[in-house]
């Protein structure tokens, strides 16, 4: 395969977009048991890609409905403490009338009346008015998002100005707010000629306006292609690779996204200032930047479930155009761009810097990445909620999130320590260029002999197995001792008297050593494992095959599988200790 062809015309790669759906491959899909299929080729005129349509739509209806209900955005908003006295759920977009690319349920400031919202939406590209993305319970600061204002060179909109002021007022402790335009300044200025543009600081009440130069989707598309070429070289020299990587600019773009996320996260957590983020339409760079900021800000989004809900919220519900950007159907090649790839990579880069801060591992990110493109599940089909509802995706496809959740044992990071000060609160990654690596686990995942075969996860599993065995052994010894002592022969009595102080001390030590809280991160996954494959060996096998490709050494400690059914033991053990000793 010529490297030069690689992904060149991602829009035009139709030659393999359907041909690969053989019956065999579908049967081997990880989730294929959920959607049995005849494997017949589906004519490509169907708007919904073939793989996601179950052949027997009615059979598992109840199950499917539960799948789709697995993640509930409203629950996440109530986790943030919403609605409250500052923010309310607005019914204004109930039928996608104000903005057809926004979700139906949106949070706006209490003081924002429907006329203000509608007025503001008329002054924003695609009607995407400022609305809440994240709210910090602790200090009332909020991340809001919108599209660019239709300001042109001098246009103003009173409602839009009122809307921003309402956002500012919903953060009672702060007397200003940031408006972040994630585009390079030049692009924003150019948009003014088309009657769009950016906010004029003079027209809005106490805003601080800030450009953060993230390049547009075309630059990103070309950059990724160049980066892939660098990764694809057959026998590159050190300089071929490094120069290829640098001239692709890919890592620089990742850094730009991360820098923007850090800016917003710091504004929220450290300054307690609300931020309004937009780019052009507010569905690409805005989605990236808001979600990166959320990952940095809130430990909840660093959990398995939280990360899924983050994608559901900032990407799917706010109308990131998955179908166009991922080229699910042959469309305009200029619409294709690796925007979500960049977000997943940002998350990976942060994981690399904080190996204990995430509940999930790199394999989780890679699996999500695969399914964003695979169309096996309905989540990423369509460009916005309205389209999805029209397609009836909830009725016709399965949800990726519940599949991932069922198999969460594969995606757990046993190094995760939710209880640790190091991993709580705001993460402050370094964005020095030294700290950005090429994600070999994703971009070179199919290269033969590319991946070091020794991985931390093997050893952590081994260690966990060892711990478990020792504890079992300990328990059996203690049972024996208790038994012997009950038998109460004279000699044994003497011996145990002799020993008892030591034994007692040991027992106490043991209790100390058994730190359930320390293990909590690693061992919580027992049950799904067993559910999936009760036999340990089988389980490990699946693990290995799933992960060794995706998660290489570079992902560091991310993918340690956690199979040990220790949690039961460790929970039980101290008790049995005590029982043994109190008997003594």
């Amino acid at each position: 395969m010529g490297a030069s062809q690689l992904g060149v015309q991602r829009g035009a790669t139709s030659r393999h977009s359907l041909g690969m759906f053989s019956a065999r491959s579908l049967q081997e899909l990880p989730g294929s048991s959920l959607c049995p299929t005849s494997g017949a080729r589906v004519p490509r005129c169907s708007l919904v890609p073939a793989a996601s349509l179950p052949a027997r739509p009615n059979v598992d209806e109840e199950e499917r409905r539960q799948e789709w209900d697995f993640l509930d955005l409203k629950a996440d908003y109530s986790r943030m403490g919403l609605p409250n006295s500052l923010w309310k759920l607005s019914p204004v977009n109930q039928h996608y009338k104000v903005s057809d690319t926004y979700p139906a349920d949106l949070f706006v400031p209490q003081s924002a009346t429907p006329p203000v919202i509608v007025g503001s939406s008329k002054f924003r590209s695609r009607g995407r008015f400022p609305t809440l993305s994240y709210y910090s319970k602790e200090n009332h600061a909020a991340i809001c998002r919108s599209s660019q204002p239709l300001s042109g060179f001098s246009a103003r909109c009173l409602e839009d100005e009122q809307m921003l002021e309402a956002i500012l007022r919903s953060n009672p402790r702060s007397d200003f707010m940031y408006v972040v335009d994630t585009r390079p300044k030049l692009n924003a200025i150019a948009n003014r000629a088309a009657g769009k543009g950016y906010e004029n600081e003079d027209n809005y009440f106490n805003i601080k306006f800030q450009f953060i130069g993230i390049e547009n989707i075309h630059v990103m598309r070309n950059s990724q292609q160049k980066m892939l070429e660098a990764c694809e070289q057959r026998s590159p020299s050190m300089s071929d690779f490094l120069e290829g990587l640098e001239s692709s600019g890919w890592l620089k773009h990742i850094k730009a996204v991360l820098d923007a996320g850090i800016f917003i996260a710091k504004a929220i957590a450290e300054e307690g200032v609300s931020v309004l983020v937009h780019c052009s339409d507010g569905w690409d760079r805005t989605a990236q930047v808001c979600s990166v900021a959320c990952v940095l800000l809130d430990p909840h989004y660093r959990t398995l479930r939280g990360f899924m809900i983050l994608i559901e919220k900032d990407w799917i519900s706010f109308g990131h155009k998955f179908s166009h950007r991922c080229n699910h159907l042959v469309g305009d090649p200029k619409e294709v761009s690796p925007v979500i790839d960049q977000f997943l990579e940002c998350a990976w880069q942060i994981m690399e810097q904080f190996p204990c801060a995430f509940e999930f591992n790199a394999r989780f990110l890679i699996t999500i990445h695969s399914h964003v493109y695979s169309c096996q599940y309905g989540n990423f089909i369509g460009n916005n909620h309205r389209e999805r509802r029209a397609l009836g995706l909830r009725e016709r496809t399965h949800s990726l999130w519940s599949y991932l959740w069922k198999n969460k044992a594969d995606y757990m990071n046993p190094l995760y320590r939710p209880d640790h000060r190091q991993t709580q609160g705001l993460l402050r990654p370094s964005t020095a260029p030294y700290c950005f690596k090429s994600w070999r686990g994703l971009y070179n995942r199919f290269d033969q002999g590319m991946h070091p075969r020794q991985s931390v996860e093997d050893y952590l599993s081994a260690i966990q197995e060892e711990t478990q065995q020792l504890e079992e052994q300990l328990a059996s010894h203690q049972r024996k001792i208790a038994q012997l002592e009950q038998e109460g022969t004279v000699t044994w009595g003497a011996v145990s008297c002799d020993k008892s102080p030591t034994a007692w001390a040991l027992g106490r030590d043991m209790g100390l050593a058994n730190t359930p809280q320390d293990y909590a991160g690693g061992f919580v996954t027992t049950s799904p494992c067993q559910q999936k494959a009760p036999d340990g060996s089988l389980l490990l096998l699946t693990h290995d095959c799933n992960l060794s490709n995706g998660s290489d050494q570079e992902s560091g400690f991310a993918d340690v599988s956690c199979l040990s059914p220790l949690s039961e033991d460790s929970a039980r053990d101290p008790d049995s200790d005590e029982a043994a000793y109190s008997a003594a």
């Binding site: 630059v219 199919f446 043991m510 490990l540």
Partner: protein, 758 residues
Amino acid sequence: MFSVKPTKPTFRSYLPPVQTDVKTTIEPPPKKVEPKLLQGEIVVNEVNFVRKCLSADSSQEGLWGKLICTNFKVSFIPTDPPSEQKSHLSHLLLGQHDIPLTCLEQVVTVNDTKGKKKVLGSNQKLKFNPTELILYCKDLRIIRFCFLEAGPEGAKKVCLAIAHYSHPADLPLLFGFEYQGRRYHDSKEQRVNDSIPRGGLRTPIFDRPSDWDREIKRTGASEWRVCSVNENYAISPSLPEHIVVPVSLADQDLKQNSIYFMNQRIPVWCWNHPNGSALVRMGSIVDPLQQRRIDQRFIPAITKSHPQRSEVIRSDLDKCLPNIQDLQCAFIKIRHICVIDPFEESEERWLSSIENTRWLEYVRAFLKHSAEMVYHLDGKNASVILQEEEDRDLNCVVSSLVQLMLDPHYRSLVGFQSLVQKEWVMAGHRFLDRCNHLKKNDKDESPLFMLFLDCVWQMMNQYPAAFEFTETYLTVLSDSMWIPLFSTFLFNSPKQRAQYLVDFAKNKAIPQGEDQLVYFPPVWDWSQQYSMADQTLFNNPMFVGKGAFGQNGEVKAFRRAKKTYSATLRGTPASLRNGQKGGEDSLARRGSWLSELKPDFSLVKDESPSERFFRDCLARPADQQSLLIPLLLPSHLALWKLYFLRWVPEACISKGGPITAYHKLSQLVDEIEILQSHLRQYKRPSPASTPLSSQRRMYFKASSPHDPPSPLDYLTSSFPFTPRGNLCRRSTYGTPISKFLNGARIWLSTETLDNDPL
């Protein structure tokens, strides 16, 4: 015998500060600040009211105190030491603000008001009063002192003293000679009481036939013998006294033919593969006319020593690897972009600047060549001769890397140290010249040992459980090169060491027959530098955790019940492990580049036999007990951040970095060890067993739910080092041009405007 001398400066070294009335706030409290001196260490000069800069950017942040130059180190004693909690590796002989004189790369004095700058050498004059002293260190630190409040004369004298004493005229003037002499006599009594052979050192030194014998037996090299033909360095001045040669070669043969080799470096044995092939190193042949003669003498003898009599491969390293000047040049460049260049300027073109240094390319070249040698030894069953002009530089790197890849013994701590001892110290690597301890000849300086450590780190980075030691150990080892107190890195050859140490023993009244290791110990006696508790930072939890298996017979027996599980763990079929799993991969990725990235198997056809060998090796399940082939595609090589960037504040990730994982793994392993020791006590209750605490091998101990949560805020990606106060580049005046350009970049965006879709 004198005890420690009271501090007595040789001349009046400071004046009262000139402008104390202006800045009363910074006037130090009337507290005596005394340096901590080692045995035999004397203060040469000192100056008060000096400010040590603490951070790179704001020159305002600093510590006030006294700057002292002794015959061993530059020391700074803060008058008001900040009450920082003890959080990381503390050196027993050096304080937080101390720099050994041998560690100084460059001493630079600056006068800001006059805009003057001078690099100071030995015995030089300084025509201006310095306002600042910048010390560039060999361990990549940059330390800055400001003299604005100090007496100008005093400051000048200290600077000159530092410059002078960091350029010793002769080897015995290095402080180690003074220190170890004193130490020997001061600790004599203690030693008599517990006379452990060789000072209790577990690392073989290879200065005795028995060490070589043991190595021959360990590797099963029955066709090789220890030969003492070089006793008293009779034939070669740079080979050790005892060497290993083929049994079929007589001493006489060796003697006669030695003259045809550069430096009389005849072929000597390094290591034997279990299959019988041997690794041999030698110098080049001086007279090409004698090539045939040598070929007929030595090559058949080496072939004969192979059980299968298989062919001998010769590899001339001078022809295929960069030379020592290339390496030095690359190292200077990479150091420059990592620590010296202002951060903003290196940022933009980081990858290409790294590339331009060629350092990683060289690291890769050495690993690659070593892997090829492994192919011959392991894959082709052939003995290998490494040939280099002097057999004292590149051969050291390649032979030790080959052995690390092939023999798991060398991946243990003691094994690794014995490897360095065998292939570097005893093989006559010119540490004195390559380190340039005497700063006499810059041309000979070359970071070969550093390169070797970087190669080891690359392997460690790819196989995190294969080595008993950590990257902290490698970093500390590299730092030890610049502390002149240990015999390991001070000499050019075993002969030179012997000569100097005989004179030394005579001068210091050390009785004849005393073991060198006792009166001038090598660096391997880590307790000289670090407490036992700190040394646990050298232990790799994954290796230790792995070692927990099998040592304990009971555990092994017990695990039989779960055989399937364990077997899977250790021997998963390669097809599954190398990412070629059927299901997920055959998943069509609509419009995704992923479908394009699949391996192209047709390319496999035209691979060379060695490529095939590597591919097969990599396809086998990772078995850390034997062969370890590093992956060498450029994306697998990384910059060794802990070494190169530990002092760089911009690269420091607070509360993050690999150390956080190390922390958790250490706690897990510690917990296992506690449990194991409890088990042992149940099995064999012995009151005499050592208390658990002394056996614990992990730096981070398992915590209990009753412990107060420790903040661990000091865990950064630089741990156990800290950038604070260790990397103070000179601030640039005005706005750096790069800052300006950065601002401009937003305007001069590359994208065309009409490209922006919306």
